[in-house]
Symmetry: C2
Subunit: 696 residues, 2 copies
Amino acid sequence: MQKFFYPRRVAVVGVSEDPANLAQGIVANLLHFKYQGKIFLVGRRPGATYGLPIFSRLSDLPEPVDLAAILAPARVVPALVRECGELGISRVVVESAGFSELDDAGRGLEEEIRAALTHYGMRLVGPNGLGLVNLEIGLALPFAQMQPFPRPGRISIIAQSGGVATHVLAWMSKEGLGLNKFFSLGNKLDVAENEVLEYLLEDPGTGAIYVYLEGLQDGRGLLAVADKATKPVYLHMANVGPETATIAQSHTASLTTDERVLEAACRQSRLIRVKTQSEFLNAARLVGQPPVRGNRVVVFSRSGGEAVVTADACRRFGFTLPPLSETLVQDITARSRAGVIHPTNPIDLGDIFDFNVYLDIMASACRDPEVDAVLFHYGPIMADIEQEAAREMARRMVELAREAQKPLAITVLCTLNEADYLRDDLGIPVFHFPEEAVQALAVSRDLAARGESRGLAEPPPLPEAATVAETLTGSKPGGFLPLAQALTVIGALGLDLAPWAATATPEAAAAAAGRLGFPVVLKLSAPSLVHKTEAGGVILNLPDAAAVQDAFNRLAQVALSHLPPQEAWQVVVMSQVAGGQEVLLGARRDDSFGPVVAFGAGGVDTEILDDVALRVAPLNPAQARDLMAETRIGRILAGARGRPPAGLDSLSRALTALSQLMLHFPYLREVDLNPVRVFPGKPGILALDARIRLDD
Amino acid sequence: MQKFFYPRRVAVVGVSEDPANLAQGIVANLLHFKYQGKIFLVGRRPGATYGLPIFSRLSDLPEPVDLAAILAPARVVPALVRECGELGISRVVVESAGFSELDDAGRGLEEEIRAALTHYGMRLVGPNGLGLVNLEIGLALPFAQMQPFPRPGRISIIAQSGGVATHVLAWMSKEGLGLNKFFSLGNKLDVAENEVLEYLLEDPGTGAIYVYLEGLQDGRGLLAVADKATKPVYLHMANVGPETATIAQSHTASLTTDERVLEAACRQSRLIRVKTQSEFLNAARLVGQPPVRGNRVVVFSRSGGEAVVTADACRRFGFTLPPLSETLVQDITARSRAGVIHPTNPIDLGDIFDFNVYLDIMASACRDPEVDAVLFHYGPIMADIEQEAAREMARRMVELAREAQKPLAITVLCTLNEADYLRDDLGIPVFHFPEEAVQALAVSRDLAARGESRGLAEPPPLPEAATVAETLTGSKPGGFLPLAQALTVIGALGLDLAPWAATATPEAAAAAAGRLGFPVVLKLSAPSLVHKTEAGGVILNLPDAAAVQDAFNRLAQVALSHLPPQEAWQVVVMSQVAGGQEVLLGARRDDSFGPVVAFGAGGVDTEILDDVALRVAPLNPAQARDLMAETRIGRILAGARGRPPAGLDSLSRALTALSQLMLHFPYLREVDLNPVRVFPGKPGILALDARIRLDD
């Protein structure tokens, strides 16, 4: 990565004298940002542009270069890459489109390039992107004009869309947020997000990172990299729903990400999920400020209304407004011009026009160990009368906050040019509206509250792996296990099932029911029977042996009419369990993040109840408890309103066992236990059904 | 109202030559906005400012004035108001602070003013506000400088905070949104929001209204007024939580509003609830556009990434992206320069630089009856090469949209000065980010989907009003009814209760239990016993007569130890009902909106389940059904997954009965039926408990 971001000599390939030539844009950007290295131009026809000669071949260049930025038709790119390899140019940036995002021919070209990279030991950025930028040395390789020009700063960007990145960059400039490095991923033929992120996390010039992605090749890798983050990483994942899949695929060849898995993955890591560009821009204003270490904010405002609005926002984002200290209350009361003030928090400064009072409040809030952040609504300043005094006050405020290591945010009427002074000259985070300031403080607080990520634990060994493996032997890829097999796997994991037996004749079923105790349930078990209930493959409430035999015969009819000829089937007899509450336990393999474990409200109403929480596996028992506590049913089972808790230990053991199962057997696609019954005051749980699907 | 907004001659009272004199600000604003009427100044000391003479008394003015704007110390205001009355000045605006928002003395001054208003038949705006503005005639009465100066337009503002209004006004100017009228409510001594809103809804100059409130004096009145709205009314209620109550009270003397009631009230009316200033500013960009009549959006974008981001936002806000027509698909494919395009929706324009294609897409989307709105991501335009052609395209787009009566929204890179041209010269709604455009479209769609508000129906008569009234006779204000009385009221309403009887001796209880059938529950019933269960006043699972007598005696002990001496008590014997699902039905009187009816998941876990929906009463059976459908439990009871529905008719009858009860008996504060049991496949319901609280 270092060689990509800090080359000493760069060749721009694909330049011509034609004013419509796109590669000229690269040259223009390098010149504008005063690239500190040397620039060489290469194009099919010799000539000159921007006062630089155009060489017709890379081998004609007078000096060896470290990096080649290529913007030429896709079909000629493989040859150009090989030429770079021959010449020992180990870093290549390809901005041309027309590769895997377009069609099979494009995919073929990428394969050719990949072969060249391996052969010559080269690395490549793109294709189909904007290249990269490092403002520290004026390296700006995008062919598109960057307008307004980014200003140098501490924020770096990794983006899978040039358009989105350009848009964000433009607003960063407008909002006074400076850029350090920018990396356009394009089709990620070689270098992908995780490698760049790992580099930027160590990069001294980078203070925070915005990552825009439309697909994740290796979500678990991302979590592992982000685990080491000591700076904010704002992850903006687009293409998280079915509507976007088509466009994103053609655009950068990405797979849709499951939003709920993404949300869970971010929450359990140090990644900050932002859903929109403006959410990032807003949060980024606090980059460089100390973290918000708790929940307590002091708000003071020159407008009572804005104070109310701010307090509403504080409530919405979970902040509290602690009462002010006695001394401060007295002080404020004494200094109020007409006494028209109530020294509460938020503080409506009302008719106090004495900036020294503002500073006293600020000093007091900074001193107070019970205060985690300060929010000041500046309001309009009478330019001619107050400006100098107001600036002096703001300077002192910054000093006070810095000494106390407390974050300070200011909202300012946009009308005021003072906003630019506060932001650019004093480095105070300035917000347009109170809500935005509070939201940014909340992002900082939530990140600080996560503390050190414990990361993905090493999975403990699976005790009954051999039994499970044996049961799975010979199963059909892509299909579901027959119920009896699925129940055997779950039993082998050590999870408690309602007592059951697999039977092959009406008599055996009746005998088994007699052993298990009536009433029982009969369920048809066969490989191709996925929706048992819908097919009539489940019969409930069987009170005696005769009913069981009769039910067995009905299921035999169902098997005859629903199953392919010759498919083997059995009938599972299971005790019918009364009472308790229904939960679901599940696990599945996510395309981006791998094995994921689920817990939530179960039964037939799972979808309506919409009360399921997820976690990327593996998880330990403590994390399983946290997962359950994220759901309403989990809080109810924990023993709300003085009732005894229900089956929590068993549930957390079951969840960790599912996590281990998925990690140990990578060809398992999905495991669903629904319903699982739990009983207030009892430690045990009983799974009543199990579905296991194998990978294709 | 007309006389407030269109005065011909205005007196500004409280002016002096002192440069720090605040009333001078009023004069400055009137002059800046070129007030079309005559301005007269009044102050204690004669003199002149802004070239106008200062008269020392109102009676000295050379001509009669229609309106007096007063900014003088609070203590002299009552006398000034009386002087206005004597002179026949029927409209007064008071901007001074120091009234009811401050202390008792201030409240006294307001009383004096109120007396004068009644005596002289005058109307008053304020005090403690910024007065009003009508840009149609240049009337601008705020004493504060309005910077940047608002531009004339179609949006009017009613605001309870000068600071918040100024902030919004400043951003309106920055975002190209013009002002028509502005009304600062201040302490609402006389004129309050509903009267102003009613006027502005009829006002031809006003196209949309932003209402900022920190308290609602008459929420039902607001709903009634908003019912007639044929233009968007954006209601921004601040001070909706406990944290803000203190500050808002001192600031404009308001009571906190219950957020959930507010949310329900807006949803059932034509009010658009906005939670922040920026939410309003964003939605307001679409003022003047045709309504979004459905769910289907066509998105096309010069950046693939922005198209993906837009599609994500569409999904989040419930929009669908219908496939493009065959003809259009072929056309796009044919015109693509390198064929690097997939004609899906959203459309990534990729390498199509031909603006005629853009127009074709626009025309096709406008023609298509299956398309409700068009969203175009403009992207950067090469200023020197494309500007003229791009402007011509935009002009044609506006025409196409206008002809088709379809809303068109554009997102633009902020870097582009073209954004101002599109917005100001062509009147196209221009957004900074895709998400914002989609959000604004969603607000318009949701308003259009509400159709004509049916308003608050006339409540039908309460059949058993006499019985209820009799039962309530002699009850203690502010207290709870004893359980037996509460059950009698609920029974009189025609709601089914679990069979019960009130008893006074162990023997009577045992006899009643025998009649009702075992098992039974015993509950202590007494006026001062609010938390029965916590006090040990409920005993469950009594299987026989002996157990009932024993339980009665235990309850007698509880009565002895928990109740005040001499308080009468009884024991309610109730059948213990097994099975079914628990719901809650409730009603309470909200400070702002009056009677509100509630439905949701019941039982002891109500709070954790957090599944309760509200509606401002009255409600008819259809509205009761809608209310239930807003909850998860309601959707489950409706018969999800093929199960038979449970008790819906009975529940909707019960909800309407509660609504009638609250309207009929204004001294009822709260009615709670929790739990009420419902049974799948059965029409009936059984209430197991009832709590009724009376007003103070």
